[in-house]
């Protein structure tokens, strides 16, 4: 396994092709959860974990079941099903096994199942014909990228609470403006890695 290639994949997924700032996916959670640093951190950890597990699972389902059966065209439905089932299952199990973790992170699980990044990652794994390890690396990279976006946004918005923002820009409009500016900054990473 080429470790350098995997590292490139992680960097590319987290910075160069950051899902939030270059592809503008998953914005609902991004704006909803980035109000406080604490929730942003919780969401980041949960999100990355769920993303990696769902990427691995959907890769296996795609490779060993869907390709032999010639039903690749069903992948959107199937991947949504896998993610939803996984999230529901981990919700149930986590509640019993570690209630502390559940109260810290479990509340974000329901939000995750409807996120578009979590669906986009398995789909692009298939599209780019990644292998198993590469898929997980890509999921990890995307998770890190999303966490990065959340944490940057949360730290800015916590400061923004105190700033004297013009009346009509208060709240969500200002958050969109800030997102646009960060997205501009992220274009600086483009061309850093060409896979």
């Amino acid at each position: 396994m080429d470790f350098g290639k995997l590292f490139e994949l992680v960097v590319s997924a987290s910075l160069v092709n950051n899902y939030v700032f270059t592809m503008f996916l998953g914005l609902c959670i991004f704006f909803g959860v980035s109000k406080k640093m604490e929730t942003a951190m919780g969401m980041s950890v949960t999100f990355t974990a769920v993303m990696m597990i769902s990427a691995a699972l959907s890769w296996m389902v795609f490779k060993f079941i869907m390709v032999p059966l010639n039903i690749e065209f069903l992948m959107i439905i199937v991947f949504i099903g896998i993610v939803a089932g996984l999230v529901q299952g981990s919700d149930t199990i986590m509640r019993k096994v570690s209630p502390d973790l559940y109260y810290k992170l479990g509340i974000y699980l329901a939000l995750i199942s409807t996120n578009c990044i979590i669906l986009a990652v398995p789909l692009s794994n298939v599209g780019n014909k990644y292998g198993f390890v590469e898929s997980i690396a890509y999921a990890l990279g995307s998770g890190i990228g999303f966490s990065l976006a959340l944490i940057i946004m949360a730290s800015i918005r916590e400061k923004l609470e105190l700033a004297n923002v013009p009346r009509y820009f208060r709240g969500l409009p200002m958050a969109f403006v800030v997102t646009g500016l960060i997205a501009l900054a992220f274009t600086g990473f483009s061309g850093l890695i060409t896979l």
């Binding site: 010639n70 065209f73 992948m75 099903g81 149930t92 199990i93 298939v126 599209g127």
Partner: protein, 388 residues
């Protein structure tokens, strides 16, 4: 008819020319690189069977696994916790002293020593419901409201410099204790408005917060957030308060603000119930003694005492009046008038409903004030005793 047929033929011809397969479909979006197979190779019935079986199988598999997980990992939750949770205000304000509504619901169900009436935002009705669910006794609690203990708005209080920083009291107070000359006064940058989870506070036109009593639940969030500690949460019935926290000497307070308490002691002198007391240059009304008659608010020379009762029941002199003129002598606002030994009358414009005359009238001829019923009852008891 022919026209339409020929037109349709033309359209079909045009569509034949427009052969889709000759274009390379670009990879749009994610997952675009599925290789299409020539139509002849695909066995439709097999494909349909495969996909149906797979989808149904996946659905059944997830259904079974999730059902099994739900059974195996079932967490026993006391159903009363959910019921209690439904009664609470869901503001997560922390007025009960717990981290959130769930934690309080759990504590009140499990711990017999936790009172069911701790959720002030939800009010007395919710407390009763919680008490019913948990089998405890609800304490009857008077609702409490946030009161702003400062009336020194834009025109009334002096500012010592022009503040142009972050618009927040917590930031303003860092700059030399804020821009107001009075170090006890409300800064008016709306921190309390922002922390209020119920939207009960808003900034008034004179840069002072205004409490919307229909929304205020007495959760004390604003009280904790105010860097000047100018908000107090007080029982709803105590509607006459010294709305000033200035402990400066009288002259000093006067320089800073037109409506500050100058510790002149007039309120303490006029009060028929001995409620106000001046301590360290600030009058404080003893809420247990105060009967909200509003006399001190009328007599206060700087109007530092706020009276939230807009309409008081005014005194009325009944036919029992013997014309002794006592009421005219005791009245602090000179409302009663009349000739000796004739029925007196009260000027309703002057009367403030303080009830002093009702209490002093030797024949209980004055009715209508807040204390009339009590005074009449005491007098009747006295008569009974005297007769016995």
């Amino acid at each position: 008819m022919y026209d339409i047929l020929s037109l349709a033929g033309d359209v079909i011809d045009a569509l034949r020319l427009f052969d889709v397969t000759q274009f390379i479909v670009p990879h749009v979006g994610v997952g675009g690189e599925i290789e299409a197979k020539p139509a002849t190779e695909i066995d439709m019935s097999k494909l349909l069977r495969g996909s149906l079986i797979f989808l149904a199988g996946m659905g059944t598999f997830f259904g079974l696994v999730l059902a099994a997980a739900a059974k195996k990992f079932a967490v026993k939750v006391d159903p009363r916790v959910e019921q209690v949770l439904d009664c609470l205000a869901h503001a997560h304000c922390g007025a009960c002293g717990y981290a959130g509504c769930e934690q309080y619901a759990e504590a009140v169900v499990k711990d017999p020593n936790v009172s069911p009436s701790l959720c002030t935002p939800a009010g007395a009705k919710a407390a009763e419901k919680v008490a019913l669910i948990t089998g405890k006794k609800a304490e009857v609690k008077e609702p409490i409201f946030a009161r702003i203990m400062c009336q020194g708005g834009r025109d009334k209080a002096v500012k010592k410099y022009k503040y142009e920083g972050v618009v927040d009291c917590r930031a303003a107070v860092l700059a030399g204790g804020g821009d107001k000359s009075c170090i006890y006064g409300c800064l008016g940058y709306g921190t309390c408005v922002r922390v209020c989870p119920f939207g009960a506070l808003s900034m008034g036109p004179d840069e002072l917060p205004v409490v919307d009593l229909t929304k205020c639940t007495g959760c004390r969030k604003c009280e904790a957030a105010c860097p000047k500690r100018v908000i107090e949460v007080l029982p709803a019935s105590k509607r006459v308060i010294v709305a000033c926290h200035s402990k400066d000497k009288g002259g000093e307070t006067r320089k800073h603000c037109q409506v500050g308490c100058i510790a002149c002691n007039i309120c303490a002198k006029v009060c028929p119930f001995d409620a106000p007391k001046v301590e360290s240059n600030l009058s404080k009304i003893d809420l247990d003694k105060c009967r909200v008659c509003g006399l001190c608010a009328v007599k206060c020379p700087t109007k530092a005492i706020a009276d939230f009762i807009t309409h008081r029941a005014k005194a009325v002199i009944t036919e029992k009046c013997v014309g002794c003129h006592t009421c005219a002598k005791v009245c602090p606002v000179e409302a009663p008038s009349g000739e000796q030994k004739k029925r007196h009358s009260i000027d309703t414009n002057k009367c403030i409903g303080c009830g002093i005359c009702t209490a002093r009238c030797p024949v209980q001829a004055i009715d209508g004030t807040f204390n009339a019923a009590e005074v009449f009852r005491l007098a009747a008891e006295k008569k009974k005793k005297a007769a016995a």
